[in-house]
């Protein structure tokens, strides 16, 4: 378990929560607006580096 960053794309609420990567993917709900448009801000490689959606 680690503290991970989350960002709600509905109400713009940013928060930290305990989250284990093993649980991924799972349903996320914004604690403030109850939306599911919650983005898990995982540590990504630098912009454009290697990560290409095919």
């Amino acid at each position: 378990m680690a503290l991970e960053n989350f960002h709600c794309l509905r109400c713009n609420h940013k928060y930290k929560a305990e989250f284990s990567k093993k649980e991924w993917p799972r349903e996320l709900t914004c604690p403030k607006c109850k939306s599911n448009s919650v983005r898990w801000l995982k540590k990504r490689a630098a912009k454009g580096a290697g990560k290409k959606d095919s």
């Binding site: 794309l9 993917p25 799972r26 599911n36 983005r39 959606d53 095919s54």
Partner: protein, 612 residues
């Protein structure tokens, strides 16, 4: 029970485990391991001669450990099949030097130490899952002292101590001094209705079971004091309230409040419990000779294997998920599989019998029809485009795609009868080799284009899964919950059918907001296909961000068929988001996406020239 063993159409396979089930509706193949009993089931007459010579004594599970049995035993006298078996974990050994006494004692020669487990393979058209329940183990609730005090017993132990066929021949005594208790306290909701410890759900049967127990005691031991500590008494069934009233009339006290602690008096072994009577708000002390923990029940965890073999899902409580909570309570999303009894949810005997009948009727209908029709919403693979990468095989929740092998040049194959039509595979395929029949890419693109043909900036494109989100929208409609007219729904069978290229296409055509919506993870009608949706939208958000498009433009929402109100609320929220997107931003998005597409096409073309 005897009817089962006599019935010419029933083959009873006990002491057995289902090791594998493969196939699909109408055509399953099950592999069953029948563990050896070391006693020939058909020959054994249950005479008991073998038991007389067995030197081993172990606690008898059936009697909850209140009495003992031998290593060769029959679970209980009326057991079906009526046959003895050897418990090899406790048997001293079959070698004559170690023991081996039972074999010569058997006149019919039905004991065979060398017999081995048997693997049985059967073809079946339908499966009924009736994996049942397990009483809650109260040991974690330390305040009740179940592990420390002999006179604290569970409701199952109570049954054995009262049963005529029990260890005391139905004479109710307390374990510490084997005397009839003068007072008995019952504690309700042990392991039930607590989100913190035990289970959050109501186990359904314990209230009535305790009421029954109190009546039994009052009847057999007039003058006995019985008290019940409870949160709520749930006597909701036919004849239940009458029974509850009768119990009160016969003198059982009902005290609202669950004890915080039980302590044993070190001399008398009596039990003193401390409880807040929530009716009076006062702390009370009560002393009893004996306490019965009315334990809740839970689904049998051994059914986990069955779950994965049959692609079943569980509710958060651990029960198997039905196809529809009201209209299809015995069906599961996997066709040809039905469930009955506790596996589906807490219920009493009558309800189990009802459900078993319903499941049997469903099975009979299926078998009676003689053939099944598979809806034509299935995927098919274009062999020319397939690269045998194997990604489709991995995302299929139904194991409906046979494994491909690049080296051996084996293409993946769709088992059409097992395919449920979620579409997860088609979206996963990067090579356009998989087509979903009746829900093709071309159909989706045409819909997106139609919705956005005119004034796209005023429209929200919502991809909604048939079973939940779309149905949630229907419920908002039937409930007349009004919301703005900007959202336009495009129906998909599962949200996993939504290709992120559809979403990008919509953005490219000027959609301010695109929504992907599906079932909650626990409600997914395609086992767990919805996981793919979450992953793909995540990936798209990253991609959009990298391109310089606000990820907010793509929204994700899980809406169940019961959440009409949520559907309407979300639609209102989306309209607010839509208003924040300026025409300038939309134009910019279009430009970025068209450029990105050009670049990609250029790269692909370059790749092609290199490879040729």
């Amino acid at each position: 029970m005897m009817d089962v063993s006599r019935h010419p159409n029933i083959e009873l396979i006990t002491y057995a485990q289902v090791e594998n089930i493969a196939g699909f509706i109408g055509n399953f193949t099950a592999t069953i391991r029948k563990k050896t009993k070391y006693v020939d089931e058909k020959e054994c007459t249950a005479c008991g001669d073998c038991v007389k010579v067995c030197p081993v004594l172990v606690p008898d599970e059936f009697q909850q450990g209140f009495s003992s049995r031998r290593a060769i035993y029959i679970p209980f006298p009326q057991a079906v099949p009526s046959s003895y078996l050897i418990d090899m974990d406790n048997c001293l050994g079959t070698n004559p030097i170690a023991c081996g006494k039972c074999k010569p004692a058997c006149e019919k020669k039905c004991i065979d130490y060398d017999s081995r487990d048997e693997i049985i393979t059967i073809d079946v058209g339908a499966v009924v899952v009736a994996t049942g329940l397990k009483p809650y183990d109260p040991r974690p609730l330390d305040e009740y002292g179940y592990t420390r005090y002999e006179n604290v017993i569970t409701s199952i132990e109570f049954e054995r101590l009262n049963a005529a066929g029990g260890p005391t021949q139905g004479h109710f005594i307390r374990p510490s001094d084997r005397k009839e208790p003068g007072s008995v306290g019952f504690i309700q909701c042990v392991g039930s209705r607590s989100k913190v410890r035990g289970h959050g759900y109501c186990s359904n049967i314990c209230c009535m079971n305790t009421i029954k127990d109190s009546l039994l005691l009052q009847e057999h031991y007039p003058g006995i004091e019985t008290s019940v500590f409870y949160l709520d008494i749930r006597a909701f069934g036919k004849g239940f309230e009458e029974l509850y009233r009768k119990s009160r009339e016969q003198g059982t006290k009902y005290i609202r409040g669950l004890p915080g602690e039980i302590r044993e008096h070190h001399e008398t072994n009596n039990l003193v419990l401390t409880v807040e009577n929530t009716t009076t708000g006062k702390i009370e002390l009560h002393e009893f000779d004996m306490i019965v923990l009315s334990v809740g029940v839970e689904p049998d965890k051994d059914s986990d294997k069955i779950k994965s073999m049959l692609s079943l899902s569980r509710t958060p409580d651990g029960f198997f998920l039905e196809s529809h909570p009201r209209l299809k309570p015995v069906e599961v999303p996997t066709r040809g599989v039905f469930m009955a009894g506790f596996a589906e949810g807490p219920k009493d005997i009558k309800d189990s019998v009802c459900q078993a009948g319903a499941a049997a009727s469903k099975v009979s209908n299926l078998l009676g029809a003689g053939k099944v029709r598979i809806e034509a919403v299935t995927s098919s693979i274009d062999e020319d485009l397939c690269t045998m990468c194997g990604r489709c095989v991995r995302v299929c929740p139904y194991n409906a795609i046979t494994k491909s092998n690049k080296k051996a040049n084996i293409l993946p194959g769709i088992i059409e009868a097992a395919c449920a039509g979620c579409g997860a595979c088609g979206v996963e395929c990067d090579y356009g080799a998989i087509t979903m029949r009746h829900f093709t890419d071309a159909q989706y693109y045409s819909q997106v284009e139609a919705v956005l043909a005119d004034k796209p900036g005023e429209k929200i494109v919502v991809f909604a899964c048939n079973w939940c989100s779309y149905a949630g929208g229907d419920l908002a409609g039937t409930s007349r919950m009004s919301y703005p007219s900007s959202p336009h729904l495009i129906r998909t069978m599962c949200s996993a059918r939504v290709n992120m290229d559809f979403v990008k296409h919509a953005l490219k055509l000027g959609a301010p907001i695109v929504v992907v919506s599906g079932c909650h993870f626990s409600d997914c009608h395609y086992i767990d296909a919805v996981k793919n949706t979450q992953k793909r939208v995540e990936k798209l958000w990253d991609e959009l961000e990298d391109l310089g498009i606000r990820p907010e433009r793509v929204q994700l929402e899980w809406i169940s068929a019961a959440e009409g109100a949520k559907f309407a609320r979300v639609m209102k929220e989306l309209e607010l988001l839509r208003k924040q997107v300026t025409p300038k931003e939309i134009e910019e998005t279009k430009r970025i996406l068209i450029e990105a597409e050009k670049k990609k096409r250029g790269k692909k073309a370059a790749k092609k020239t290199v490879s040729t």
